[in-house]
């Protein structure tokens, strides 16, 4: 586990405000002081994000589930040693990412994870179930299909950016990629996304 103090510096042209609210810091503090309720809240607020994020890293449901379980067990066991966290999710992403890669390596599932691009595993992406009520929406369906044409690296970045609501600096910290590369890869991922979407959306 790392002690991370997350500071948010925004990268946009506008004048940003810190989007991680005080409640994040408060929740974290409550958890550090041993509140089981705070712990459960953290779990419950972040599980889905971590789950889908993990699958973008290694498409292996069992491995991802094990790592999330271990992450939270260690989190509780080590809370006395953890530092402040302004962005809980950012912290959890960082630790989970490292654990998943370590575990994948141990289990001999090392894909070419360091450099993106070729990480696409044809046919190995987990089967996705339909989207629920809104599935009638053409665009959302199209988006799902187009998303699968991107590399896992691109999907990882897009996940962090949109589901995870991380800004580019935070993404750089989580993925240990240079900031400029995060910006560049996101840009090309979005270009590709739009390029492929045109076929579905005139």
């Amino acid at each position: 586990m790392e002690d991370i103090v997350w500071n948010n510096s925004m990268s946009g042209t506008g004048k940003p405000r810190e989007h991680h609210t005080d409640s994040d810091a408060e929740l974290w503090a409550a958890f550090l002081s041993g509140s089981a309720t705070a712990f459960e809240t953290i779990y419950s607020q972040n599980f889905e994000s971590l789950y889908y994020y993990g699958l973008k890293l290694v498409p292996d449901v069992a491995l991802v589930e094990d790592c999330i379980q271990e992450l939270f067990i260690l989190l509780w066991d080590k809370k006395e040693r953890l530092g402040k966290a302004k962005s809980i999710r950012g912290y959890l992403y960082t630790v989970l990412r490292r654990n998943i890669f370590e575990e994948a390596r141990k289990r001999g599932k090392m894909l070419s994870l360091v450099d993106g691009g070729e990480r696409q595993l044809a046919g190995e992406t987990p089967p996705e179930e339909p989207m629920g009520q809104e599935e009638g929406e053409e665009l959302s369906k199209a988006l799902d299909m187009v998303m699968k044409t991107l590399s896992l690296k691109q999907q990882e970045l897009l996940h962090l950016k949109y589901h995870g609501q991380m800004n580019n600096r935070e993404i750089a910290r989580i993925t240990k990629m240079p900031y400029s590369q995060v910006c560049y890869h996101l840009k090309t991922a979005i270009e590709q996304l739009y390029g492929n979407l045109k076929r579905f959306r005139p």
Partner: protein
Amino acid sequence: MEYQHYNEEDFIRDDFFLQWVREPDEDSNSFWKEFQEKYPEQREVMDRAREMVLLLTTRKNEPKVRMAKGRIWDTIQEQTAVTEAQQGVRRLKKDTGFRPLYMVSGLIVVMGLAILGMYTFGVFTDHKVAGPPKITLQLQDGSQQVIDESDTRTITTKEGQTLGNQDKHILKYNNTQQDATEELAYNELKVPYGKNFELVLSDSSHIYLNAGSTLRFPVQFLPDQPRDVYLEGEAFFVVASDKERPFTVVTDKMNTRVYGTRFNVTSYKNEGNTYTVLEEGSVGVYPPEADEYVPVKIVPGQRAVMENGRVAVEEVRVEKFVAWTRGELYFKNDPFQLILKKLERHYNVEIENRYPKLNPLEFTATFKDKTAEVGEVLDVYRKHTPFNYVREGNKITITPPH
């Protein structure tokens, strides 16, 4: 680039725009309102971008994920003190399950290597005895038993008390109900050079003893009494968690207090180094003479080293320190001097270095092939830095190159 020139793709990458879509507030509302009044042609672009952001952010609601969420939470509760605090349940870490199996193959091979040894020392270099090296167990009645790793048998005292069972390379102690008024009875296991051995204590803690190590431990732990074991040499511990009875590994230079966990303790007297490396869980270390000790806690991936009576903590690659449990040799930036010590233990050979210039040189190498002989290992080093060696029996002499 200015916002008036942004296209849809630019907007969805812009953190300030994203923030407004997700969590609009007064500042951002007024900023974008003003912007749209000034550049009405951008309104449509922004609406599309906004829709895209929301789509990209939407979480799927998959039943299998919901189920996983509940299931994993249950396990987390079982495994953490969250429930312990609420129900007072004593927990036992599940992780003792897979490693021992994984270990078995590694150990058998290491034992095969022991055949290489012809003459031997006992556990300590000053206790030289003739004959092949033997694992010995000293019981509480003072009697000494030789453990033959091909045996499967019951360990009993002279009085007929059954202590536990040996199943080849692993010795398991029985857990019998103890009265708090009873006295602790100790056994002592000595593993000579060239051998490894496994021990399961009465509390189910699993211990892997490396070559040239001695462990003194209570046959049974008493209720409400701390669990103390005494180590010289090196051992990897998988300690059964028990909040009421802390587990402490005592060495002459440093004590390691355990809170339920997997870790490696090294304290070879003839090497002058004592340290603990943590693979998982949590341990605290402190000097043995400290009365009012405040343990220095380390986290997985850290090593606590005793240096001049003080505990120093550093980040390490754990793999280096636990590779021996799989019968592998793992050297990273290690001085030749230290490498020779490890080879002596691993292969039960005596190595005399008459080329002292080599001693401080650092090498990095891993020997995963468990059938590699000591000569092959030395040959690898010779390729890098030339030297000569001769072997007579179990004695190897290193000399400068011609």
